[in-house]
């Protein structure tokens, strides 16, 4: 137990010790995000992540948002296990033929108003998988998308930025 406590104090708060350039970027996005989240979502934005056919690359970066360095909870962002509690869907992948139904159902299970963000190049147009019998292409072909975040995969800061952009561009629908 003492070792655990020692390690916790030794580690301190890493969230603030980012390299200056990235820190400035993340903080700047963060401040705006927090304002938007306060305004629209009473300080708490709840996200359901849906892998609609991705290679798992985007999932790794979405995971990273939860690590102590990005610590997205400080802006009021939580990931939820059920779409029924979600304000926002963060969807990755080209939509695979076998995930189409599950994606539609998840979308329908998310209460209105809701945001949909497509993460990654595949979510935009199918990426390297293109459009075929198995890959139906971008997320927008199946459900309405508010914001696309490009990158293969997009970096965690890009994802935070994309979430912010969704508030700037539109009110939830």
């Amino acid at each position: 137990m003492l070792r655990i406590l020692h390690q916790i104090f030794r580690t301190g708060i890493v969230t603030e010790s980012l390299p200056p350039a990235e820190e400035a970027e993340v903080e700047a996005i963060g401040v705006k995000l927090e304002e938007a989240i306060k305004r629209y979502f009473r300080r708490s934005l709840t996200i359901r992540e849906v892998d609609a056919g991705s290679c798992n690359g985007c999932e790794l970066e979405i995971h990273a948002l939860n690590n102590p360095i990005y610590n997205c909870e400080r802006f009021g962002i939580h990931f939820t296990a059920s779409p029924r509690f979600a304000d926002m869907l963060l969807v990755t992948g080209p939509v695979s033929i076998n995930m189409e139904t599950a994606l539609r159902r998840t979308y329908n299970a998310t209460p209105n108003p809701k945001f949909v963000i497509a993460v990654g190049d595949c979510g935009y147009n199918g990426g390297i998988f293109g459009e075929s019998y198995a890959s139906l292409g971008g997320i927008g072909k199946i459900i309405p998308v508010d914001v696309y975040i490009h990158g293969c995969p997009p970096k965690p800061a890009d994802i935070l930025n994309g979430i912010l952009k969704s508030f700037e561009d539109s009110r939830p629908t």
Partner: protein, 520 residues
């Protein structure tokens, strides 16, 4: 193994000279004796590595049925033909368990029928596809969409007093890939688990056939995003073997550097996530800090956090400077210090001990029977690491250390990873200390028509296998991808027996298999 086949078949086994490298021979045997060949393989203690089908109509032939066996460092491929008008072959499932899903997949996607297979349900192809759609056939137009039909998947059922069923997925609670698990349970005890996968099937193998050879490396790098270096490397080694292209020494060492960095990053994340699933979130947060630092160094030095597209046919796409070398060396030093502190905390924590030991046991007998690979195999007493058994430069000089444990539980799978992180740090230091000078690419000319190549690479999950065949016009006729998860998934169904439902996430995480790499 080779001698067994020659002595069994004599002149009936014909060696295929278009197969590369020469160390992995390919023999053509008669169709009716396909299963017979499995017997001496089984007696020799070999494992079934992969089984796949090809459409060789463009060569004026029928469907090719291939199976690859391995024992220690020896790989052997057997092949047989089946005509278009009678696309059947004798099933290997009763001899080798992994053939069970490979053959369901071959039937579903290529339309070749394994005679004597105990299960005719589709695999990857879901129940709402039209029955007669066979995407891997040349006659199938991949750009065409498939119309859906009504269909129902026949689950394995359990009946009796107090038996209930828990369906999970495809959309899971966490930020993970989709798949469906169906449990039958009594009280808290799991009596059966059945997996249904294929949700992230993106048509990757078909897609390879429409890409130029160098683009193939990019697609391979996206078969499973967490294993981008190892998959791209395996593809590149396969196509390089077909053209006898030898990348410069420096490129080979840089490839190994990236491969080991990928191993460390993923193992760090996994150890944290396993502890988190035993409600010890402290470890997850500590280890994700370490992982994040490594990814940032990757971005700084290689231009990508996961080093995607940095392994290319003929070499690597990016070089490092002497200054970068120093940076990595000091990073490894820092990582060792930080990591070892956490290992002590793990080791001293009795509640982790209580949850992780004896949970999700895969016995060594089962591991051998299921032909599992990678850390899963090593945690269940199997001596297996292609970096040691089939080394390519520089692994023949920096010899990795293999950790093999026998308990086959969650703890063993975690501890094998712990030792592998330590060893990868040592390997990285050795690589950097003896990194040869010189260029980083060799000209790569695409393979000539009618050749096939084979390569294996030990990714962080285990042995990755590629087999690529060039068509009559020098195009990619078939690219067979075998992620470690293609054989390891079934081990989870076995390991969960006798465990309680709440331990499933923990057991699942200890395997951490790829859905995308399996579904393709």
């Amino acid at each position: 193994m080779k001698n067994n086949i020659i002595s069994l078949f004599g002149n009936e086994a014909r060696k295929d000279e278009s197969q590369y490298p020469a160390t992995v021979p390919l023999y053509q045997i008669p169709r009716e004796r396909f299963t017979e060949a499995a017997k001496p393989m089984k007696t020799a203690g070999a494992r079934l590595v992969a089984e796949w089908a090809t459409d060789e109509t463009s060569f004026g032939k029928g469907f090719g049925i291939y199976v690859c066996y391995a024992k220690d460092s020896e790989y052997l491929i057997l092949k047989t033909y089946t005509p278009l008008e009678d696309p059947t072959f004798p099933s290997l499932t009763k001899k080798f368990v992994p053939a069970y899903r490979f053959e369901r997949q071959m039937r579903s996607l290529m339309g070749v029928i394994p005679l004597g297979h105990p299960d005719s349900r589709p695999w990857i192809k879901h129940e709402d596809w039209q029955e007669d759609v066979y995407p891997l056939r040349k006659s199938f137009d991949a750009s065409k969409s498939i119309s859906r039909v009504k269909g129902e998947y026949q689950w394995i059922r359990a009946e009796g007093e107090g038996v209930y069923e828990i369906p999970v997925g495809p959309v899971h609670a966490g930020i993970i890939e989709p798949g469906h698990f169906r449990f039958q349970a009594v009280g808290e005890d799991v009596i059966n688990l059945e997996e249904k996968l294929g949700y992230v099937h993106k048509g990757i193998e078909k897609r390879f056939e429409s890409l130029p050879w160098d683009e193939g490396a990019k697609l391979a790098g996206r078969v499973s995003g967490d294993t981008t270096v190892a998959h791209a490397l395996c593809y590149c080694r396969t196509v390089e073997s077909m053209t006898e292209c030898n990348p410069p020494e420096r490129a080979l060492w840089l490839r190994a550097l990236m491969l080991e960095r990928e191993r460390i990053a993923n193992h760090l994340g996994d150890i944290g996530a396993i502890c988190n699933d035993a409600a010890f979130a402290f470890m997850l947060y500590q280890l994700t800090i370490l992982k994040e630092r490594l990814l940032r160094t990757n971005y700084k030095l290689f231009g990508h956090r996961f080093m995607m597209d940095k392994v290319i046919p003929g070499g690597v796409a990016i070089d490092i400077s002497d200054k970068n070398k120093e940076e990595i060396l000091s990073e490894m030093n820092w990582l060792t210090n930080e990591f070892e502190r956490l290992v002590i905390i793990y080791d001293e924590n009795s509640s982790l001990d209580d949850r992780l030991r004896d949970a999700g046991v895969l016995t060594d007998g089962k591991a051998k029977e299921l032909c599992v690979v990678g850390f899963t195999a090593r945690a269940s007493g199997q001596n297996m690491d292609c970096r040691i058994q089939n080394p390519f430069s520089p692994y023949d000089r920096i010899i990795p250390k293999m950790t093999v444990l026998n308990s086959g539980d969650v703890h063993a799978r975690l501890w094998v990873r712990t030792d592998e992180i330590r060893d990868s740090i040592r390997l990285i230091i050795e690589i950097l200390n003896s990194l040869p000078e010189g260029k980083i690419t060799e000209t790569f000319t695409p393979p000539s028509p009618d050749k096939s190549g084979f390569a294996v690479v030990e990714g962080w999950r285990g042995e990755i296998v590629y087999w690529v065949q060039s068509g009559p016009k020098g195009e990619i006729n078939r690219c067979m991808v075998r992620d470690p998860s293609s054989v390891n998934w079934i081990a989870l169904e076995e390991a969960i027996h006798g465990n309680i439902v709440p331990d499933f996430p923990l057991c699942n995480k200890s395997f951490n298999q790829s859905y995308s790499g399996h579904d393709l």
